[in-house]
Amino acid sequence: MTTKTDSLYAPREPVFPRRVSGYFRTLKWWIMAVTLAIYYVTPWIRWDRGPALPDQAVLVDLADRRFYFFWIEIWPHEFYFVAGLLIMAGLGLFLFTAALGRVWCGYTCPQTVWTDLFILVERWIEGDRNARVRLHNAPWSVRKARLRATKWTVWMLIGLATGGAWVFYFTDAPTLAQDLLTFDAAPVAYMTIATLTATTFVFGGFMREQVCIYMCPWPRIQGAMMDEDTLTVAYRDWRGEPRGKHRKAAGAEALGDCIDCNACVNVCPMGIDIRDGQQMACITCALCIDACDDVMAKTGRDRGLIDYLALSDAPREIAGGKPKPIWQHVLRPRNVVYTALWAAVGLGLLFALFIRPEIEMTVAPVRNPTFVTLSDGTIRNAYDVRIRNKHGEAREFAISATAEAPLSVEVEGSVDGKVGVSADTQAMQRVYVSAPPESTAASAERTDLRLWVQELQSGARASVSTTFNGSGQ
């Protein structure tokens, strides 16, 4: 700092994570492969729903207001499924954070996965940490320009594939792919792809850890969700300190296990030193564990100088005891409650999914006017009946009414009282219910009435209770 006043701005320290291998790195490669495969492949899975419906397994059809997920189809009025899934996602994050710390951040967050992919590309093209540091510090040259251009091009292609895959979730993927290539697709498709390409390129290539540290709210929330039993990546300072390099120097026997090789710092994608203790910038990607285990093996010491451990174990270990088994940390009341809540919401959604009917109806009585007197004295009420046909094919419905008093039903525009509703749509049908002249229903103020629709092919029925208004005279 050149001025006396503290600046609020700190320039970014570039991070050059070194290659590492080990248990957690392998696990992360697998998670990356699976999550990326899910993201890129899902829109291309086909699922036959009959001729009237799209055959894309996972499709958010905004234009027709439908969400398709394999055999499940969600209508807008069933949005509570989405709300329920979001609640489950929230509770799931609570559970995983309370049990395993920022495991979401470290393994599955898109920002982490894509950054990991971008760093992989960077390493392929520009070499490992030392080569990259040298290249970073070198003045611009043809070689540097070539490497940078290659890297950025590959990044851009990944970004393009990422943005490109996103839009396939919203419309039929093969058709859209064709339209995109022939420039016949909707402008919004190109704009979405452009935006997501740009954000992927910038977030994965340049902003990286800054997204986690400065932009993401989750690290702040997570700080409040962890407790002393949460398993998190930590440095066993009681074992490692005092750290020191010169093992053969005098007084070396007083040194701890940490040989201060900085392997944990060099592999860190966040550019932090885990030995400083738990910190907000740590996404618990566990790469420092792999790096340190490697060094411990080479120096003939036990693994786990940096390891997943709970804070409550620290005094126990310092006293020479053994840490509590992992299941005792995980199976504590708080996590059991989260799991129970999560499962309850999930079971509720499953239950709702299986009891939801294939046909549904709503009835809106026409109350302007409440009734109409016909020339022969018949009292007529009108109802707007909305019938939902969730089948993948057109179905025919019969409309009828039950009431204590005799009432007749007339379906507007239909001679036989039947209504056809095309596949996967809802139809509004005006229905007239009439009470004969001077009948009880005609002269009563109100008569209870139940309107029924029956799907003629399967015989499934739905009904809604409503009221018939008489003249009251």
């Binding site: 109409v372 016909l374 020339s375």
Partner: protein, 293 residues
Amino acid sequence: MSEKRIDPVTGTETTGHSWDGIEELNNPLPRWWLWTFYGTIIWGVIYMILFPAWPLVNEATSGLLGYSTRANVAAEIEAAEAANADLRQGLVNTEMAALPQNEELHRFAVSAGGAVFRTNCSQCHGSGAQGALGYPNLLDDAWLWGGSLDEIAYTVRHGIRNEDDPDARWSEMPAFGDILEEQEIVTLAEHVASLPEGTDPLAGPGGELFDMNCASCHGTDAKGDRTVGAPDLTDAIWLYGSDVDSLVETITEGPFGVMPAWGERLGEAEVRAVAAYVHQLGGGESPEAQQGE
């Protein structure tokens, strides 16, 4: 200021203002803030030149780009009308009786007719077309002048008993207060009030009066006559009230319900659209029923 004073604690220049020894630091605005501020001023000037900005006496300066939300709306309306031009033309060209068979055109007509109805007709006939005393209910199956699509369209186009359209539906019930004695009118009213219960229209003293004064228009069977808009007196529907007092008033004064001619005001497509809308409200008659009468 001749001499800068530096605050010893912060090392910042002061403005020289001092209140009881408390001095104001002269912290300049951040450079980015200042440039943003200048930028907004420049933007504002450019905006005022390009877009409508200064209110004058009658209108505002129009701006170089000629932007106008009013013109945009007009253009949008024009575009919508252009998009519907084929449907409107189709509506004008189609036989009214065949309209319900053309599903797309019928849907357009009903939807457009609903808008026309709510704007122009609901003031008298009610927003639900339920009518009011003296204004017919359009939901029921009783039609003074006919309930087929063609008849409804004619009524809308030319209106009833108005002076503006020579083709308006026309008839006039005399004010029998000038013709009959008061007691005769009461007798007649009581007789008419009993007609829906199945009384013979020509029976008794009331029937005699009916035959002499009413049957020429309402028919000897009291079923009315649509060619002169005479209502059926045997049904359950009464435009001016069904009790004896109301009937006495109706017979004494002679109702003269007027409906404006809408043909000129709305245009043929709208007339047909609103006829289609009214026809599907629950009481519309098919052409066969019309012929059967």
